[in-house]
Amino acid sequence: MPRPQRPLVPVSSALALSAAWFLVAHEGGSGWVQLLGDLVWGALLVGLVGGAFAGARAKVSLRAVPADAVAGSPVAVEVHASTRLRFTPLAPPGPPAFVGGRSGEDDGITLVPARRGVHGTLTAEIASAAPFGMLWWRRHVRLSMPGELVVAPRLGAPRPADPVTERGEGELPTAVPADIGEPRGVRDYQPGDHRRFVHWPATAHRGDIAVKEMETPAADPVVVRAELPAEADAAEREAERAFGSVVAFLAAGRSVTLVTLEAGGARRAPVPDRKTAGRRLARALSGSLGAGVGPSTSSSTAEPGGDADRLDTGQRGDSAAAAAANGQGAATGAAVRGGGLMERLRRANRPGPAEDSVALRVACAGSVLVAIGAVHAEGEISGGLALVAGALLVAGMVLSYRLRRRPPMWVKAVLAGAAVVAFAWFFHQLSGQQAYDIATVENPLAELFVAVQVIHAFDVPARRDLSFSLAGSAVLLAVAAAQATTLGFGIYALVWMGFAFTGLCYMWASAAGGGPPAPRAAAAALGALAVPAVALLLALPAPTVGGHIVFPVAGGSGGSLAFPFSLAGDRGSPSEPARAGSPADPIRVGGFTGFASRLNTALRGSLGKTVVMRVRAQRPSYWVGETFDTWNGVSWLANNTVPGILGPGSPFIIPGTIAPTGTAPGTGPGGATPAGSGQSDLQTFYVVQSTPNLIFHADDVRQVWFPTREIFVRANADAVISPIGLGSGAIYTVRSDVSVPDPAVLRAAGVLAPATGLATRQAQRDVALPHAYPRAAALAAQVTAGATNTYDKVELLVDWLGTHTTYTTDIPPLPPGADTVNEFLFGDRRGFCEQISTALAVMLRSQGIPAREAVGYVPGPYNPITDLYEVQARDAHAWVQVWFPGYGWQSFDPTAVVPDANPSPGATLLRGTGRLLGTVPAIVVGSVMVTAILAWLSFGAWRRRPAGPAESVARRMERAGGRAGRPRAAAETLSEYAAALETLERAPPGTWRAAASTAEAAAYGDSRTSGAARAALGRWRAPGGRWRGYRRRQPARVGEAGRPGPRRR
């Protein structure tokens, strides 16, 4: 298994980046951050472990190894690798090289054997950091060589005292004349023989020219004894010296006998040339030759050299290789472990080699540019800054590419100065702020990030620096994504991903020796990356706002109001005063007529799908706009229309009077703080379309961040009113108490007198009815009979409404003078939220339970990409609030079911896709799919169609053979197959073979086969019907060759 190489830095960097990203996603509650994070985490995971897979699956083999080499000299070897790898030969050692991955060609590597020896295998380290070059994984492989590699020792200095002649005399190699020879015999003259060699006595004797045949060299063979000491280095030196002596003698024209100790014992044999001597010494063992060498063993060493050289010494070669590998490993290990902290730091900070890949630089610069653009698009930096930063970034990238070989010191000094300035400016920006929450830090921080990126771009000579740029662009994009509220951010995300993925692929291509990345590997990496990304997308919970971060607020395009405290903006123009809807002019904001000082239930709006606002919230809730306490039979009215002023500046603390959850002093049961309070959520509202100047909030608003000096609060009527018009672009944040008491607790509280805790005047208003509703009261009493507390009564009424009324927005106008509730309850019982909720409120009031009408929005569809609730005009809603002593106003929605669980982005996406598919008619989908399948099948059949009558014969034959349990082997020709089938089927001799021959004639002869022959081929059928084939298949006995053989009957 591969082991990672120095995993600490890449793994910890990846973990840090992941953790930071996760924190941003889950504190900021941005779906975009998490979505991009899924991809980034997938990429990091694949990048970190990809090398292990590539390394484990890599197949490496040696293709060509020369037979001979010399220690210390490079020797070329051809390696075939199935994928791109760093290949470092260890035993015998050699410099690392990159192999494989280039269209399957063999790659040349170099070995530099340190010592003599015989190698049957090559131990090497292979390493891969595919697909992104993040983390190298390496493992050792042992490759067998096609043939042995015999490594001769280095050529040492000859030692004059070493050689002796057979007669035992010491002799200097230089004493031998170069061209001496002795005639071995005479032979006939051949044209070209020099006359110097004519043997005159023999010529005279024969009468025909005879020529001397010379034998060179003439002298006695010199004996060189290679006595190798046991110690490896000393043995190597000794072998080098012996080699030097042999070569010197051979050069001097002497014949040399070499005495060595080999695996089979001492060996004494002449060495005709330098190569043989090298091979002999390569095989020589360490140890003493002893007394065994000499005349007594000469008979065993006199055999011809060629055969003896073939003695297999593979085992000894292997042990030498292993020893060399150990030595090498120990040496490098010591080098890696050596050195103190300073040395490690220096090594970590050593600049890498200059990066030459322009494509990698372009990809990195592109990803940073896109990130800067995204930050600008989300309004965190100004357009001017973005332009300047982009230009400087490009200039910096070009400059650092030009200076990549020798980055001058002055550039670094200038950059350090610039960084100091950027940080100083950042802190200066902060010093003007009062509170360091993210809302105030966010924009200066984004500017600082951009500045750091630009400064860094001037000093990216090496690949590692570029990888920092890439990671930096990821951080910058996360900063932008945290603010992204629309799908439009996807453009930036997609382009950034394209650049970043290209950059990552080029990282590996550049780390693996340059060149473009392999497209197939890149596609595989993309696929591998998608798996964890999709898994994370489906598995991770929705990122929710942490509750610690208040997002920046903005005034948007609303403008100021003529009467700041009054309601405005109900006609699409944010500054126009709001008017109650009238039958003549019912259309209000998004078609809803409720956001005004009165809610006329006689009006019928039409609600569109326009997105009104987007809400970033920790959990879904009803977004309350305002509440009404007075019912006149047709309309709900707000009693207090003159709001109070709240100041001085954001954040505004809303007094408890309008958030009455047990906050009225001394009114709770026993004076204790009611249970369930204190759980508060943050909601940030992004206004998309002009809305009324109501500040929406979840149930009980506590705190408001709003970009004005003051806001208005309608006393007791529960509306927070903005002094400015709320047009698109307005952003405000609200902290609301969202604690929902347990039903059991509410039941307990509901046995008290219903109005306990309400101020008397208010309580009177909240149970007041414009006229007696005898039928409604009787109905309510009948429905709630047996219930002992308020909560159960409310639940029973809600249930009754749920089972006895039907929801529709398409109801006829209210007849003049009619009462909405009577018309609804005792008419056709059809209506929408206004009718249903009003009916509930009236029935509750008829039972003496304080109830009021609330208007606002339901949470709206959740967008899993942006992690925002997209409130549409048709999400406008009206529901009922019921007073519970000690717990204040509690919402009940008789119309719809409140979504009560946090959605998961993956499930929502799947559901959304399913719903989208569901809208397409099944018949269309089905017929398209059937058509596609049919087209695919017929295309396949068309592609597999027989090319001619010959092929159809071959196919029929194969089918017949398949039925008989004897499929055609790939190597079998048609004739062979036909012969085999003929035997198997006991067919008349020649019937099958003739057909095969004819088919072959048509196929290989030419297309000019006679028409009659073609027609005959087309009509040919395998002898024996289909039914015979079926019968044969069952009892198929396995013949000797593992195939069903012919059976006896």
């Binding site: 051949q190 190597a971 048609l974 021959s997 290989y1004 002869g1005 086969t1009 022959a1013």
Partner: protein
């Protein structure tokens, strides 16, 4: 329905067909003629006939006394020419093969005296007994069909067929044939021992010599040349050619093979397959032809361990997918 194959595929132009017919006839009669002399060795006969038709040289590898020389002699005689014989021995010099330039004292010029290689059919007996330098002299004659002596080139008679024999079992005093020499032989075959009955017939008929003297030529030199030309026109479908090339390529990566088959091997695989097609009275090559000639055509060229080359080729034949009509 029973079909009978079209004898020559009906696929040759009228003029080419005539040439092919005579080639088919020559092949049939050649095999028949050789069979009269060499009994019980149909594979060797076929190899000899294929060599004659394809124009490739033939290497016969077998123990002494199985009729190698008789086969060569019968081949020469059947083709209407005489056999030139070179006996391999260690003292054989290149000039003994190619011929020498002799100084003519009368005319004062150098005159080239052609050696035995200047013949249509040359038998090099016990080729591996000649030293490498003499073997080298044969390299040029076999491939280029010419002899270069003293800077002058002399063309050899056309057609030119070298039949060499070697005795694989007696290695004493032999020089192993160099790869380039082996690669020049289109086919390498063995004769093998005859079975008992055949051997008895052989003994009764006083060996093949008796028949050899009575052997009638089946062709003359122009006829032989025309047959060779016609053999070259035998059609090779692209799929079949690719199959031959695949086989040759497969030897280059086969286990236990140091040096695979050369492109020359692919060429001769096809040319000998063409000759086999002619012997089977076909005007086109089928994959079976390639399969049949591959062992004789490829095995001797592979740089493999002794005795394993043939097994390697057979293994490749069993594993390389053959084309399907």
């Amino acid at each position: 329905m029973v079909l009978s194959p079209d004898p020559v595929g009906g696929d040759l132009s009228p003029d080419g067909r005539g040439g092919l017919d005579s080639a088919v006839q020559l092949g049939e009669r050649l095999v028949e003629n050789l069979g009269r002399v060499l009994l019980g060795a149909p594979a060797a006969l076929e190899a000899a006939a294929m060599a004659a038709l394809s124009g490739g040289h033939l290497l016969i590898e077998d123990v002494p006394g199985v009729g190698k020389t008789v086969l060569a002699r019968a081949l020469a005689r059947s083709l209407g020419t005489e056999l030139a014989r070179i006996q391999g021995q260690p003292d054989l010099l290149p000039s003994d093969v190619t011929g020498v330039s002799v100084f003519s004292a009368d005319e004062g010029t150098w005159e080239f005296r052609p050696g035995p290689v200047f013949a249509h059919v040359v038998l090099v007996d016990e080729l591996n007994r000649t030293p490498p330098r003499t073997q080298s002299a044969l390299l040029e004659t076999m491939e280029e069909q010419q002899v270069t002596v003293d800077g002058e080139s002399w063309p050899l008679p056309n057609p030119h067929l070298v039949v060499a024999t070697q005795n694989p079992h007696s290695q004493l005093g032999t020089y192993p044939l160099v790869d380039s020499q082996l690669d020049r032989f289109a086919l390498c075959t063995t004769v093998g021992y005859p079975d008992a009955e055949t051997e008895a017939r052989l003994v009764r008929h006083h060996g093949g010599k008796f028949a050899l003297h009575e052997l009638e030529p089946v062709s003359d030199i122009p006829g032989w040349l025309a047959a060779q030309r016609a053999t070259e026109t035998v059609e090779v479908a692209p799929a079949v050619a690719r199959y031959a090339v695949e086989l040759a390529r497969a030897t280059r990566h086969a286990a236990g093979v140091r040096v695979g088959a050369s492109p020359r091997a692919s060429i001769w695989l096809i040319r000998t397959a063409q000759a086999r097609a002619v012997l089977a009275s076909r005007g086109y090559v089928v994959p079976d032809d390639v399969k049949a000639v591959a062992p004789a055509c490829l095995a001797h060229r592979l740089g493999a361990d002794e005795g394993t080359a043939l097994a390697v080729v057979r293994e490749l034949l069993a594993s390389t997918p053959s084309p399907r009509p």
